[in-house]
C-alpha cells in the first residue's frame, strides 16, 4: 500500500508538469484549432534557458534559494513567451486561412527547426540542470516520502493554473480569448482585436511551457535539445484526454497521464511507458471522442 501511495505522489508531480504543457496545447487549439507541434520544443527551450540563467544566477549570488528559482522561472517564462510570439507571427499567421494540413506541417517544421537549431546552439549532449533548491524529505508518512522538490513542483503548477484560470475567467482579456475560441468572425464583428488576442494566447501557453521546462529541470536534471518530443506528444494526449480546448480538462488529463505512466513503470515495465499514453488516447477517443470534459459538437449543415 505504501508503495502504491509513493507511486501516486510521484505520478502527481509528473502529472502536474504534463498538465502545464497540456494547458498550452489546449489554449492554442482553443483559439486557432491548430495542434501546435512545436509546443514540446518550446518547453525544451524553457528548460535550456533555465539551465543557463540558473547557472548564471547561482554564480552571481553564490548560492541557491527560492528567490533564485523564482527569477529563473520568470526569465524562462518571458523568453518562451517571446519565442511563442515570434513563432505565431512569422509562421502561423500567414497560414491562418490555409488548409489545416498545411498549418500542421508548418508546426512540425517549426518543431524540427527548434530541435535542430537547439542541437546546433546548445550542443547535442545532455546538460545537468543546476540544483536551484536543495532536495530533501519534506514529509515522511510511514515510509511514504514527499520530497521538497515534488512539493514545489506541485505548488508552482497549481499556482500557475489558478492564475491562468483567473485570467481566462475573470478579466476582459480572458473574455476576449473565450470569444475568439468561440468564433473568429463573430469576435471580430464585436471589435475584438483578433491578432492581438491570438498572439497573447500563444504567449501565455508558451510561458506555461517554459515554466514546465524549469520544473522538469528541478526534478529530472538531464536537459537536452530533443527532450521535448515525447513529453510534448504525451501532453497533447493529455489535453485530448481531458477534452481539448477545455482548461480544467487539461489539468485532469495531465494528472491522469502522469499517474498512469508512473503506475505502468512501477508495476509493469518501463519499455511500455511510451506506448501507454497512446493506448490510453485511442481508448478514450473510441469511447468519448470529445475527451472527458469536452462537449461533442454536431456538424451543422
Amino acid at each position: 500500500m505504501s508503495e502504491f501511495l509513493q507511486q501516486t505522489i510521484n505520478g502527481l508531480a509528473w502529472g502536474s508538469i504534463y498538465a502545464l504543457i497540456a494547458l498550452g496545447y489546449t489554449m492554442v487549439y482553443g483559439v486557432l484549432r491548430l495542434i501546435n507541434f512545436a509546443h514540446g520544443d518550446i518547453y525544451m527551450i524553457g528548460a535550456m534557458v533555465g539551465y543557463y540563467v540558473g547557472r548564471l544566477l547561482i554564480q552571481g549570488f553564490h548560492g541557491a534559494g527560492v528567490l533564485i528559482l523564482v527569477g529563473v522561472l520568470a526569465v524562462s517564462m518571458l523568453t518562451c513567451a517571446l519565442l511563442g510570439f515570434i513563432i505565431e507571427r512569422t509562421a502561423y499567421k500567414p497560414l491562418r486561412n490555409a488548409p489545416r494540413i498545411n498549418a500542421l506541417i508548418t508546426a512540425i517544421g517549426i518543431s524540427l527547426f527548434l530541435e535542430y537549431a537547439g542541437q546546433f546552439v546548445f550542443g547535442a549532449d545532455p546538460k545537468f540542470f543546476p540544483s536551484l533548491i536543495e532536495d530533501g524529505v519534506l514529509l515522511n508518512l510511514n515510509g511514504v516520502i514527499i520530497n521538497k522538490i515534488q512539493f514545489i513542483i506541485f505548488l508552482i503548477s497549481i499556482a500557475l493554473m489558478i492564475g491562468l484560470r483567473f485570467i481566462v475567467m475573470k478579466t476582459r482579456l480572458g473574455k476576449a480569448m473565450r470569444a475568439v475560441s468561440f468564433s473568429h468572425t463573430a469576435s471580430q464583428l464585436v471589435g475584438i482585436p483578433l491578432d492581438q488576442i491570438i498572439s497573447f494566447t500563444f504567449m501565455m501557453g508558451s510561458a506555461l511551457a517554459g515554466a514546465a521546462g524549469v520544473l522538469v529541470g528541478l526534478s529530472n536534471p538531464k536537459v537536452e535539445p530533443l527532450m521535448g518530443i515525447m513529453p510534448g506528444l504525451k501532453a497533447f494526449v493529455a489535453a485530448v484526454l481531458g477534452g481539448i480546448g477545455n482548461i480544467p480538462g487539461a489539468l485532469v488529463g495531465g494528472l491522469l497521464m502522469g499517474l498512469s505512466e508512473t503506475y505502468v513503470v512501477g508495476y509493469l515495465s518501463s519499455t511500455y511507458r511510451d506506448a501507454l499514453a497512446f493506448v490510453l488516447l485511442i481508448f478514450i477517443l473510441l469511447i468519448k471522442p470529445a475527451g472527458l470534459f469536452g462537449k461533442s459538437v454536431s456538424e451543422k449543415v
Binding site: 495542434i35 497560414l95 498545411n102 517544421g109 527547426f113 506506448a275 497512446f278 488516447l281 477517443l285
Partner: protein
Amino acid sequence: MILINPYILQIINLIGINAIMAVSLNLITGHTGQFSLGHAGFMALGAYASAAFTVYLHEPIHQLFPSLAPVYWDSFFFMTSLAFGGLVAAFAGVLVGVPTLRLRGDYLAIATLGLGEIIRVVVLNLDFVGGARGFTDIPEYSNFFWIYGLLIVVVICMARMVYSLKGKAFLAVREDEVAAQSVGIHTTQYKIIAFVVGSFWAGVGGGLFAHLNTYLHTNSFGFLKSVEFVVMVVLGGMGSITGALSAAALLTILPELLRIASEWRMIFYALLLIVMMIVWPQGLFGKRELKWRFKKLK
C-alpha cells in the same frame, strides 16, 4: 546499372520506396482526405513481417518444393514475402481503421500518430525480430527492378482506383463528408477501403525497404518518418499521384544535397518545409496530374 556508383544507386532505390509510400498515403490523405500520421507504423509492420517471413520460413518452404530452380524460387519467394508483409499491414489497417475512422480531422491524425507509436513500441519488445538490437541478416533481395516494377504496379493500381467512376466517391468524401453521405455514398466504407489499400502498399514498401537495407531498427519508423510521407503528399499536391511521385523524389534528394551544409542540414530542411508550406499551400501540382497530352488529329 553497373556504371552507376553504389551511393547514387542507393538513393535511386530509396526514391522508389519513398515514392511507393507517398503514393499509397496519397490515396488515404490526398484523395480521401483522411489525415494519417501513422503511415510509418504500417511500413514498419510490413517491413518486419516480410523480413521475418524470409528469415524464418525460407528453409521450411524450400524443403516443401525442392525441385524448383533457384532463380525462380527466390523471386517467387520474395514476392510471397512482400505480399505477406502487405497483408499484415492491411490486416492491421482493417483492425484499427474500423474503429478510428469514425474520428475526424485532427483527432484521426492524433489517433494514427498514437497507433504508429504503439506499433513501434510493440515491435521494439518482440524478441524474435531483434527487439532493441534491431533485426539483422535479412537477405538482400530488393533491387532496382523490384522496386520500380512494384512502383509501376502501385501507380497503375491507384490511378485505376481513383480515376474510375467509383473513385469519384473518394474525392467526394474528401471534399465534403456530409454532402457525400447525402448523395448515398457509404463514406465509412470508402474511408476503410482507402485506409486498407494504402496500408497494404505501405507494407509492401516496408518489405522492399527491409530487403534493401538488410537491417531494421524501429528507430527508422518513428513519428518523423510518418511526417515525411505526409509532407510528400502535401507538397506534391493533395490527391495528385504524379505530384506525390515528384515530391518523393525531391524530398529524398534534398537532404542528400544538403549534406554539404553538414550541421546546418536539418535546420535548412526544417526552414524549407515552413517556407514551402507558406509559399505553395497548394503543393507543386495542386490537384492536377502531370500528363502528356496529345492533340487529337482532326
